[in-house]
Amino acid sequence: MTSFYDIGALLEKRFEKIGKYTYYSIYSVSPYKQLKERIEYLLAGNPAVVAAPGVPGAGKTTFYAFILANYLKDIICDEGSSHYLYVYIAPTNDLVRDFMEKFMKFLKGVFGVDCPPDKLSERIRVYGSKISAPRYTRLLKAVDDKVVLVASTDWQRVSARILSSKEQYYLIDEASRMTFVRLFIPIADAIARGRSEGEIRGFAVIGDENQAVGLSYEEREQLFLHAVRKIENSDYVDVIPLTISWRLPEYTARPIKYGFYNGNLTGRGNPLTIQATHEEVKKLLETEKRCKKYEKYIEMFLNVAMQHPLVHLELGEHFRSGEKYDEKRAELGWCMAYVLSQLVKNKRISVVVPYTKMAFAVRILGQLPNVVTATVASYLGREDDIIISIFGKEQASNCNTYYMQDPYTFNVQMSRQRNAIYTVGSAEILKMSSEYCTKLTQKKRQDRLKEGWDKLTRTLDMLLQMRSVVSI
C-alpha cells in the first residue's frame, strides 16, 4: 500500500523501441533548439546559467531526461571513475520518479543503451523520502568515484553524500517552493561575472513563477528563476521562455492562458469528451447510495462533459465556513470520480483539493480504481488524464484565505489535466473576493500579491465566460 517508488525496477524495465528522430525533431525547433544547445554547452564543462520560464506542461521533466540521456548515453555503461557529476533536482518524489522513468525510457528505448541494471546502479544515485530500491540498494547510497548522475528531491541530500571531489552541473526543476536554491544564487552570480570557482560549475533551471506556491512575498523574490532574470545581461546567462504546453488541451487551458500568462500559452494536449448513456449513469448511481442525492447534478455535468473537456459546476454557495472540509463538496467530488472511473476505465483521475482535511474527507469515502486524491501543494509538477478540481474557501474573510494568501495555487489547481478538467465551486464568489481584496489593499509591499489577485480575477472571469459552465 505504501507508495514508495521502486527505482530499481526501472533499471530492469524493458522499454519499447522509439525512434529518436521524433524527439530530435521536436527539440530542433525554436525555442527548444536554443535551450538544448545552451544546456549541452553547460554539460560539456562550460560555466553557464540557463533559465527557462515555462508554462505548465512545457515538458520540463521530459526535456531534462532527454538531454541527460542523450549526453550520457555513451559513458553511462563505462568502467572507471567520473570527474563530472550531473544532478537533477526536483521538488517532489513524484517528479524524481517521473524523471528516472523518462531517463531510462530515452536511454534504453530511444538510444538503445543496453547495459545491465547492476552496472547502471553503479553510475546512478536517486534520493528522496519516498524513493526505494530493494534490489539495487546501491542506488540510494553515497556518491562515490563512479557515479555520474544523481536525481534528488533536494540539494542537501546530495551535498551530504558526495564523497569524492567532482565538478557538478545542476539541472533544476523549480516547480515550487525550493528555498535551498537560495544557496545557488551567489554562485550563479559569480558565474555570470565570469568567476566560476569551486565544484559547482553551472545550472540550468526550468520553472514557472506563476506556479511557485506557498511562498511569502519575500520568498517569491528569492526564487532562483527570479534571481537569474536579474543577471540575464551577462554573456554567461541565457533566459529562454517556453510557451507550448504539451499537456494541456487548448480549451482547458483557456482560463489560465488569459489569466496568468497574458495569452502566451498554446495548449497541445489531447482533449477528452465523455461518452455515456442516461441508463448507464442511472445504474451506476443506484449501486452507490451515497451518490443518489447528487444524481441531478451529475447528469447535468455529464451532459456538458460529452461536448467539452472543461466543465465548471458553479455552486450557488461558498465553502463551509470555519472548517477545512466541506461534506457536500467531498461527496460530490467523490461521486463524480466514482462515475467517471466506471465510464472511462482507461483513464486515470485525480481529485485535487486545497486543504489536507478536505483531501482526507474525500479519501475516507473509499478507494476507487484509478483515482487518487491529493492537495494542490502535493500535486505540484504532477498531472493526470482527468482532474476533478474542487475549490476551497471562496469567501474573502479578511483576504487571508487559501487563495487570497496565495493566488498562484489556483493556477496549479487549474493546470494538471492531460485530457479533461472538471471544476467544482463558486467562481463568482471567488472572483468577487479577489476584486474586493485588490481594492482593499493599498500597501506597496503587497504589489506582488495584487498582481496575483489580478491574475486570479482574470482567470475566473474567463472561466465564467466559457460555454461549459453548469450552474447548480
Binding site: M1, T2, S3, F4, S129, K130, S132, A133, T137, L140, K141, A142, R157, A160, R161, L163, Y325, E327, A330, T356, K357, A359, F360, A361, R363, I364, L365, G366, Q367, T373, A374, T375, S378
Partner: protein
C-alpha cells in the same frame, strides 16, 4: 529548552561558557557540540546502530567479536541507504567500536548477574530523546525549573519499568570530565521520574588506550575487560538544577551577571573572567566574545556598547520565538491514538486503529486528519512514558512525517480500521529510526509497539538564534582584530546593526 550537556558545562566548569555555548556552539538540529574529537560522531552513530543487537547477543551468551559483525551485517545495507555512514567507516572504526563494546559487554554481564537483566525482560534504546519541561506547582510557580533536552547514548529499561540503566560513550580523554558526571547525573534524575532505580555508567575509550567504566551510582567490582571506578554524584543534581535559571537570567536580563555570579557562588558554580587572567580562560575559544559580552559598559567603546545593546534586543526576539516553539514542542492537545505500530520498512511506520462503524465525517474519524506534519510517536506502554499525562517528562520513541495521503478506512466487522503512515524524512534521523526498526525485528510483539500516541509537534531547531550569535561573535572578533576574515561582509553587517540601533533609539 537547554541541552543537558550545556547545563553540565555550566555546573562543572563556567556558567559564562555555558551561556556562550548555548548561544553559539550547538549544531542546530542535534544536541551534540561541534568540539568533539574527529570521528567521534561517526563512532557514536555506529554504536547507536550496533548496541541493540549486541546487547541481546551478549545477554544470550554469544561472543562479542561475532556479534559486532553480525549486528553490522544485519543493518549495513539500511545504514548505507538511509543514513550517512558507509561500510568503510565501519571498518575504519571497528577496533574502537570493539573496545567500547568489550567494556559494555563486561558491564552487561555484571548487570545480568547483579540486577537480573536478561534478553527477554529489557528494552534497549539508543539515542533516545528525553524531554523535561518546567514543573509547575499548584500556585503557578515552578516546583522544578529544569527545561532540558537530553539524548543519552544508551538507555536500558527493565520491562517491569522499575529499573533502568543509562550509559554514555566517551571518546575524550578523562580530563575535566566533571561535566560528564553532571550529564549522567541529570539523565539519571530525569529517568528517576519514571523509574524507581536507575544506574548510570560512563564508558571511556581513548586513543591513549584507556578503557574504563565509571559507575556513578554504586561501586562496581572489577570487570574483565576494563578498569572500573566509582564516583559519587548524588549531590551533583542540586547544583545542576540551578544552572537553567542562571542561563535564563543571563539570556533575558542584560545586567544579570553579578546576580548570577553571587547565586552561583552559593552552589559552587564558577564564572571565570578573562580580564582577570583566570587560567581556564586562556584555552577558551570564547575568550574575546566573553570579554565583550560580560564587560562593564565603561570597558567598551561607544560602538561596542551600541552593538551589544542592539544584539541583546535581537536575541530577545529570537529567544521569544524559540521559547514558544519549545513550549509547543509537542502539541498534546491534538494527539491521536492508535492500537499498533508496524514497521513496513526501516523508514516507514504504519499505524493502525480500530474505530466504531459510523459516519465518515464524524469527529472521531476526522481528527485523524493531521496532514503532512511533523509528529512525535509515543508508546503508552513504554515505561519511559509512564507519566506522560503530566506533560513534564516524556520521551518520544520516534519523530517523523505523518502522511494521511495514504489513509485507509476499511470496514472490518462491527468496526472500521483506519491506517496512516509516518515516514523518516531525513538521513539525519536514521540513527533514531534504524535501531528501533532493528528492535522491532527482534521483538515485533513487544508491548512498546502497541498503545501508540501520535502528536503533532515542532522539530527543535535554533537557526535564528545561532545565526544572530554567530554574526555577533564574528563581528566582535573582527572589531578586536582577532580575525579579519569576511572583512567586507562583517563591515556591512555591523553597519546594518548600528543603523537598526539608531532606528530603535
Amino acid at each position: 529548552m537547554i541541552s543537558v550537556k550545556t547545563v553540565s558545562l555550566g555546573a562543572s566548569f563556567c556558567i559564562k561558557k555555558a551561556y556562550l555555548s548555548l548561544m553559539i556552539d550547538t549544531a542546530p538540529s542535534s544536541h551534540t557540540p561541534y568540539d568533539q574529537p574527529p570521528g567521534s560522531q561517526e563512532i557514536h552513530d555506529l554504536l547507536a546502530y550496533l548496541t541493540p543487537f549486541v546487547t541481546y547477543s551478549i545477554l544470550r551468551e554469544k561472543s562479542l567479536n561475532e556479534s559486532i559483525d553480525e549486528a553490522w551485517n544485519s543493518l549495513r545495507d539500511y545504514v548505507e541507504q538511509f543514513g550517512n555512514l558507509t561500510n568503510e567507516k565501519y571498518r575504519k572504526h571497528r577496533a574502537t567500536l570493539l573496545e567500547f563494546l568489550s567494556a559494555y559487554a563486561a558491564l552487561l554481564k555484571w548487570l545480568q548477574h547483579n540486577k537480573g537483566l536478561d534478553a527477554e525482560n529489557i528494552y534497549i534504546y539508543t539515542e533516545r530523546m528525553l524531554v523535561n519541561m518546567p514543573q509547575s506547582s499548584f500556585l503557578g510557580t515552578h516546583d522544578e525549573f529544569l527545561p532540558v533536552i537530553g539524548v543519552p547514548d544508551v538507555v536500558i529499561v527493565r520491562a517491569d519499568g522499575n529499573y533502568g540503566v543509562v550509559v554514555d560513550w566517551k571518546t575524550v580523554p578523562e580530563r575535566g570530565n566533571a561535566a560528564h558526571y553532571f550529564q549522567l547525573a541529570l539523565y539519571r534524575h530525569l529517568l528517576q521520574k519514571v523509574m524507581k532505580e536507575v544506574d548510570a555508567f560512563l564508558i571511556y575509550v581513548t586513543k591513549s588506550g584507556m578503557r574504563k567504566v565509571v559507575s556513578l551510582t554504586r561501586p562496581l567490582q572489577s570487570l574483565p575487560n576494563a578498569q572500573t571506578e566509582y564516583r559519587e554524584v548524588n549531590e551533583y543534581i542540586e547544583k545542576a538544577k540551578i544552572v537553567p535559571s542562571l542561563l535564563y537570567g543571563l539570556t533575558f536580563c542584560q545586567s544579570f551577571l553579578k546576580t548570577a555570579v553571587n547565586i552561583g557562588k552559593q552552589y559552587g558554580i564558577q564564572a571565570f573572567n578573562p580580564r582577570k587572567g583566570h587560567r581556564p580562560c586562556q584555552y577558551c575559544g570564547h575568550r574575546e566574545f566573553c570579554q565583550y559580552r560580560f564587560a562593564k559598559s565603561t570597558e567598551l567603546t561607544k560602538e561596542e556598547r551600541k552593538l551589544r545593546s542592539t544584539f541583546f534586543k535581537l536575541y530577545k526576539i529570537a529567544l521569544k520565538k524559540k521559547s514558544e516553539e519549545f513550549k509547543n514542542l509537542v502539541d498534546f492537545n491534538n494527539c491521536v491514538r492508535f492500537n499498533r505500530l508496524i514497521f513496513e520498512s526501516p523508514t516507514v511506520a504504519k499505524l493502525e486503529v480500530a474505530l466504531p462503524r459510523g459516519e465518515p465525517f464524524s469527529e472521531e474519524v476526522m481528527r485523524y486528519s493531521l496532514g503532512k506534519t511533523t509528529v512525535y510517536i509515543f508508546s503508552l506502554n513504554d515505561p519511559l512514558n509512564k507519566n506522560i499525562n503530566s506533560k513534564v517528562f516524556y520521551s518520544p520513541m520516534l519523530f517523523g512525517r505523518y502522511e494521511d495521503d495514504e489513509v485507509n478506512l476499511v470496514p472490518r466487522g462491527a468496526e472500521q480500521m483506519l491506517e496512516v503512515r509516518v515516514r523518516m524524512v531525513s538521513p539525519m534521523f536514521a540513527v533514531r529510526w534504524l535501531p528501533l526498526y532493528l528492535l522491532y525485528n527482534l521483538k515485533p510483539n513487544a508491548k512498546i509497539f502497541g498503545n501508540i500516541l501520535v502528536c503533532p509537534g515542532k522539530v527543535p531547531m535554533n537557526i535564528e538564534l545561532k545565526a544572530v550569535a554567530t554574526i555577533e561573535n564574528a563581528i566582535v572578533k573582527y572589531e578586536r582584530g582577532v580575525s579579519r576574515e569576511g572583512k567586507w561582509a562583517l563591515e556591512m553587517i555591523k553597519n546594518i546593526v548600528l543603523t537598526v540601533a539608531d532606528e530603535y533609539d
